[in-house]
Amino acid sequence: MKKIQNFLLLSILMMACTAKAQDNAGLRLPAGFSATLFANNIGSSRHIAITPSGVVFAKLNAPNKDGKSIIRLADANKDGVADQITGWGNYGGTGIYVRGNKLYASSDQGIFLYQLNDQDEVVNPNAPKVIVKDLIDRRQHSSKSITLDPQGNIYVNIGAYSNACQEKDRMPGSKGMMPCPILDSAGGIWKFDGQKENQVYGDGKRYATGLRNVIGLDWNNQTNSLFVTQHGRDQLNSFYPQYYSDNQNAELPAETMYEVKEGDDCGWPYVYYDPYQKKKILSPEYGGDGKKEGAPNALNPTVAFPAHMAPMSLLFYKGNQFPEKYQQGAFIAFHGSWNRAPLPQEGYFVAFVPFKNGKPSGDWEIFANGFAGTDIVTNPRLAKARPCGLAEGPDGSLYVCDDNKGAIFKISFNK
């Protein structure tokens, strides 16, 4: 009898353990992958960066309940869950980037540089160097994402403070301004020196233009070029019901990825990309009707994704822990839509696009799903977690952060 009891107890224990291991922190992943909940409730985490020793830094949208806005997380016992969590900083923002012992973080107006010691601890939490300041912040599309090229130049997105550059923003019937004056100081990617202090617009260079709002950007070492993901425009149906139905608005325009070189123009606000016609369509604010094409010199996207899913982070996978298919490919964290209403919302997942020789070699696919904790999201506030930031650990694991309550997931491949 005792034996049976022990056996039962052991079975229950084993089942409990397997259930925990297979739970994957609630995520659905391709076969062979597993996930742990690396951290939770650290505060709305926008982007993350990881040092070569595996220390994770998260940039919070606003200071958390402890008044910190840059969070340092370390996993000393290597069990996939952060066991040392500290923080500093009192300003909200999105961008964070680490190279060597230098940690860059952005607010919605500027970029700061912190020094790390050999334990990857911040040396000057209250006195960072100001690298860039006085960037435009007019609430709408104000977050500043950052990445660096191999030479140490810093690229920052300055989003357009407008939906479609109308004379009156988001006003039905208001015409698009020609030329769009917003493009002088926003709606593009700016390049600055990664070391020089107190730079303003005049010290930088408009690297690429015609980008409404980029939040995901990454330097691709294979092509030695910058890739960005753009958030397409909203409200085609509410402003132009004669050209677009609710159903068409829910699918238009595409969210887009571009490879941008210096001087490139991606077409906003004059055109948007229609993934069905596979064309750059003239915006209705500029005389378009859903069919007329425009901006012949603007870039075509490298990848077109479904509408309104909000690509928040782009990461080219450099490691070799994941199977060959994933190596050198692109991961994109989608935040999930809101502008599909009244239809159900979409896109609370991490997607993958395979790349070969610097070009997409197949269709995009869902890599990790289940962040929302529910299959149908009728309102973004019902989503448990919303994928926002991506970073690769030194062992090749992929980390995904969430800007709802601030969860961080660690995804690994188990050979």
């Binding site: 609430r139 709408q140 923003d169 039905p172 502008n339 209403a341 009728t378 973004p380 506030r381 919303r386």
Partner: protein, 131 residues
């Protein structure tokens, strides 16, 4: 019998004001779905960081009717915290919306989801000067 007539009249008055209120709510819902739902969402929950929630929002169920009327008429693009959170999107103006429609849509959003507040009358909207 002579007592019955006033009772009937009161009954009729209650009945017709209820019917009127239902009409106000139905018209308010129609306007909400056409103009507001895409941003503020079907459940009035808004979109975190972008579009302010209406459900459970202190300003929506509060007493400053004039402020709400102005926001609907003129749109909104200011950095102001609502119940401790900031929302970044600009709200579209509705200069073509009739005063009676503004009253109805306000009555609707003040009495939908978990909200329960007084109805907004045409007179209250008319009192707010157009800019």
């Amino acid at each position: 019998m002579k007592y019955l007539i006033p009772f009937c009249l009161i009954g009729l008055a209650v009945f017709s004001s209820e019917k009127l209120a239902a009409q106000n709510m139905a018209n308010g819902k129609k306007i909400y779905e056409l103009r507001c739902l895409v941003c503020h969402q079907a459940d009035g929950g808004g979109v975190p960081n972008m579009n302010a929630p209406l459900d459970g929002a202190s300003n929506v169920v509060g007493n400053d009717i004039a402020r709400m009327v102005k926001i609907i008429r003129n749109g909104y693009n200011e950095r102001v915290a609502l119940d401790g959170f900031y929302y970044s999107n600009a709200m579209t103006a509705n200069p073509d919306l009739k005063d009676a429609d503004i009253a109805d849509v306000l009555t609707y959003i003040r009495n939908s989801w978990s909200n329960k507040a007084s109805k907004v009358t045409l007179a209250q909207v008319q009192k707010v000067k157009k800019k």
